[in-house]
């Protein structure tokens, strides 16, 4: 019999366990970065920590947050979705146009969600049936979606669909006191996706497929189907974000989603998702989106000349990932130390 069985698992104190849990958490890095931002600004820019600013910041980050959560699922399953921003715009367009045609709100929302799901299925088919690399398939899908939107709108924003409900959906009219509907939607999306990833079969399969396609396949998982489902999730999250965006933006121009795919990827990666698959957390995506929004917010508040904005955003991106990297190293050491303690080697 091998040695490990003999060693009974040690009962650690609660503090130890929580501490260890925290240290091995991949989102530690971005959390630390966020806390650092808050600390620094507490002294230099008190307005940053004003509740109204934080409230705005949170509201602003929601669209990217929802996209980033969908993106995280795709990244976990080993893919990447470059079409997510344009899909968002397309779904916003579908919702807006449906309203203009006089469909009831409910039907318009369903139409937008169905569009998102369809785009997801399309991505999945391009990747699993035609064997295109994820990067290329979704890049092509970006082209299709944006082309359709331009041909359809001729570059003229869709307007005239804003019923009062849409102001609520877009968060422009708060639901109760200062609570907005997008906040609740984002929370719901987070709970559902977090729950799916953490404690359902499908979630486990997303991780399995992203971590080792061969292993997943040999375990009887239908890899193609799971990958497609991941894209459906990102398509649906794009649709949800698109519906909110249609409300928030109060019109839908064809270029509504430009650049959002990159923001979503950045937020997910800042939150600890790995582009190589098999790793990522919903909480990380949330923190990542908030970090991005906080960066822009700080730039605006500090009054950084807008020509320097891009440079600052680039630097923050590197900093955030460096922070992640450091926390990964720390968590690696902690884990190894723990593993060795279990095997009876004094570390």
């Amino acid at each position: 019999m091998s040695t490990t069985a003999a060693t009974a698992p040690k009962k650690n104190s609660l503090v130890d366990r929580v501490g260890a849990r925290l240290l091995v958490d991949p989102t530690l890095g971005v959390l630390a970065l966020l806390i650092l931002i808050c600390l620094v600004s507490a002294f230099t820019l008190p307005v940053f920590l004003e509740p109204s600013n934080l409230y705005n910041l949170l509201n602003t980050s929601l669209v990217v947050m929802i996209l980033a959560m969908g993106m995280t699922v795709v990244l976990i399953s080993g893919g990447i979705d470059l079409s997510i921003g344009t899909t968002m715009a397309l779904c916003a367009g579908v919702a807006a146009t449906s309203m203009k045609f006089g469909l009831p709100l409910f039907a318009a929302l369903i139409a937008a969600l169905a569009t998102g799901a369809l785009v997801g299925i399309g991505n999945g088919l391009l990747i699993t049936r035609l064997g295109l690399p994820d990067f290329i398939a979704t890049l092509a899908m970006l082209g299709f979606a944006s082309g359709i939107l331009y041909i359809w709108t001729k570059g003229v924003p869709i307007i005239g669909y804003m019923v009062p409900e849409f102001y609520v959906i877009g968060g422009l009219t708060p639901l109760l006191a200062s609570l907005t509907l997008p906040m609740i939607i984002a929370l719901l999306v987070a709970l559902v996706l977090g729950g799916v990833l953490g404690s359902t079969r499908l979630g486990t399969y997303f991780f399995a497929v992203g971590s080792s396609k061969t292993g997943a396949m040999q375990s009887g998982i239908r890899v193609d189907r799971i990958r497609t489902q991941a894209y459906i999730v990102s398509g649906l999250s794009a649709a949800v974000a698109g519906i909110i965006m249609a409300g928030r933006n109060t019109n839908v121009p064809a270029d509504l989603g430009n650049g959002y795919e990159i923001q979503a990827i950045a937020a997910a990666v800042i939150g600890g998702a790995a582009l190589s698959g098999g790793r990522g957390r919903i909480l990380g995506a949330i923190l990542g989106a908030i970090t991005l929004a906080a960066t822009v917010n700080l730039i605006n508040l500090v009054g950084v000349p807008s020509s320097y904005q891009k440079i600052v955003i680039g630097a923050i991106l590197i900093l955030a990932v460096l922070a992640n990297r450091i926390s990964a190293i720390v968590s690696g050491i902690v884990r190894q130390r723990r593993a060795l303690v279990l095997e009876g080697i004094p570390a």
Binding site: L126, I127, T128, R129, L130, G131, L132, P133, D134, F135, I136, A137, L139, A140, M141, L142, G143, F144, S146, G147, I148, Y150, I151, K154, G155, K213, T214, M217, V223, D224, I262, I265, A266, V269, A274, L275, S307, Y308, Q309, K310, I311, V312, I313, G314, A315, L317, I318, V321, L322, R325
Partner: protein, 349 residues
Amino acid sequence: MNFQRTASRILSVNGVPIAIALVIVVIIFQIMSPVFLTPGSVRDYINNAIPILLLTVGVAIVIVAGGIDLSVGTVAGLSAGTTMWTLVNGAPTLVAVLTGVGTGLVFGLFNGLMITRFGINDFIVTLATLNIAGGLLIVLTEQVPLQGVTTPGFSDIVYGNVFGIPSAFWIAAIIFVLMQFFLVKTVFGRRIFAIGIAPSAANVAGVNVERVRLGTFVLSGVLAGAAGVLLASRLGSVQAFLGSGYEFIAIAGAVLGGVSLAGGRGSVWAAVAGGLMLATLQQGLRLNGVDPVYFSIVTGLCIVAGVVFDRRIQQLALSGIRKRRRTGSAPPPPDTSQEAHLLRTGKQD
């Protein structure tokens, strides 16, 4: 049937299927619009395509080594900016050219060092430098207008003629030949393939993975710098947003040519053929008066069709070679079950 075998072999070479498709597309466009192959039109479109082709080749080398470089577009823009800036400040052509290429080199080096020394994912690092280079160009354009001053020698880089052929074409051709030679005929090139195929295996075999990877990013940066110089020479002025969005065209071109995003497979010719295919499509549609709103759809379709076509042809060619060979000496049957299944499911690790 020696012919069949030869044909199979040729078709299995990376980039050949797309090159054949390119010829067909050119013929079709020529029939549809007779101005397509007039000297002026060809010169214009080659001049337009060359800077992006340089980026495509740079990205292709990085991709062959198993990486990705999103920063090439804005780095090329910034290089064009620094080149122009140097000229505006009265420096001679050579200094300007060196500044432009040097800018690319610096960014390539920065990308490579961040990736290899700090172990940050290349996608993120180059996404960050995409922003940084783009931002720096904006700052630069705010200092002085980057226009109006070009030395005759400088505009000749693109507009000059050597043996009746635009000099930009010569420059690009020389760079492509050098790069292809570098990739397939040198020690460093071999190592690029090795780390692209299996970095950990290459490491065990004594390949300094980090150094090679760093090298590919430096190369890609230098090529982006060269592309920037050509852009500046062609445009005679530099705008704040020059180069943004080129990275996706470059990557799409490389992949369309048959460069595998999984790493370890590709060639300079394949990347050039793929890049030319995209440029040709755009030019052809334009000369037929197609509204550009359809371009992104057509380009998307073309990429999908191209990649699928390339893969089918290569598979057919490969099976052709195997069949031939089998009738010769008896090879050990390969244990391809896994691979075949993965191929069917389109796995890309």
